[in-house]
């Protein structure tokens, strides 16, 4: 197993209780009560009886960011699993064929110069932590191209809502064929994380 593979397992049990599950563009994902998220190697044999769906993705090298942007991101961003950051959001996205037929310079121009994807995200650091997983080049056919996972403190929910609203108005988002938004609350964290 690729050591950078992560699984998102929707089912009857898990560390994250589902608060909402919304189809934003195209087909949604079936309703589940809980979400489990972690390195795929930690889920040795997911119980198919209690899981409705499994999404997998791999963390990978940056595809668009420049050195200047990465330096700013790293200086400001927070990691996952912070005490108190008990709100999680999973946003699976599939982009259309027109996006993937673009050349590297064309995708970069839409992603950043026209849509300001990275610079908008930086405005919400460190409050909104984020981990991107790529699915497009995995061995199995995947229903999405990307799985983005966010973690933040409940008080920062309005900031997260603002981040989402701004990204969804960009030119980049006109290439989104399918998007789902699943909001969850961490129910496994002990008092030490509150």
């Amino acid at each position: 197993m690729n050591p950078r593979t992560f699984s998102f397992i929707g089912g009857d049990a898990g560390s994250w209780k589902v608060v909402s599950n919304k189809a934003v563009v195209g087909e949604g994902l079936s309703d589940v009560a809980y979400l489990n998220f972690g390195l795929s190697t930690t889920f040795s044999s997911p119980q198919t009886s209690s899981s409705s769906w499994i999404l997998r993705g791999v963390t990978s090298n940056v595809r668009y960011a420049t050195r200047e942007e990465v330096t700013e991101l790293r200086a400001k961003q927070a990691g996952l699993n912070r005490p108190g950051a008990l709100c999680g959001v999973l946003i699976p996205i599939k982009k259309n064929d027109a996006w993937w037929a673009l050349t590297q310079d064309e995708r970069r121009a839409i992603f950043e110069e026209q849509s300001h994807h990275t610079s908008i995200g930086i405005e919400y650091l460190p409050a909104i932590a984020r981990q991107l997983h790529h699915c497009r080049d995995m061995t199995e056919s995947q229903p999405f191209d990307f799985l983005t996972w966010f973690e933040f403190h409940q008080d920062d929910t309005p900031h997260f809502d603002s981040l989402l609203a701004r990204l969804r108005k960009t030119k980049e988002w006109t290439f989104v064929d399918r998007e789902v938004e699943i909001r969850v609350i961490n129910v496994a964290a002990g008092d030490s994380k509150m």
Copy 2:
């Protein structure tokens, strides 16, 4: 199965007879008599008894080329499986961690502005046909990051040798951690392809 997944199967039988198998950088691949190559979906159940190794990769979107470069490539390049193009070469490559830690602009600058990877390749079109497969973000751990497959007419072998020699002298190649070169001859093509 991802419909863009290709398999390279080394073993006792196949459409391509192995002429040479050379470790260029790092560990080689075990000697085999034949190579099979094609969409993974066409190899329903590879005979493990007759296959020594299987490498898999997926064709994907371009990672570095600009619109101008892609337009020139498409105008000049030839497809695979041309009549008479009976020489095949498989070059599996793994790049080091330093390469993957670079940002997109840094990798592009080394790949093209400093190493002229695309512009060198264009000089050998249409004689040398090429198909690139990505392995780094597949679900299973893969021994290589890329599998590049070349096809050409036997008379163009000196041109292919020149292409290889020039690429191996570039700055980009200083990031190559492992490289194998397997040369094969098509033994399945009928007289119509000769």
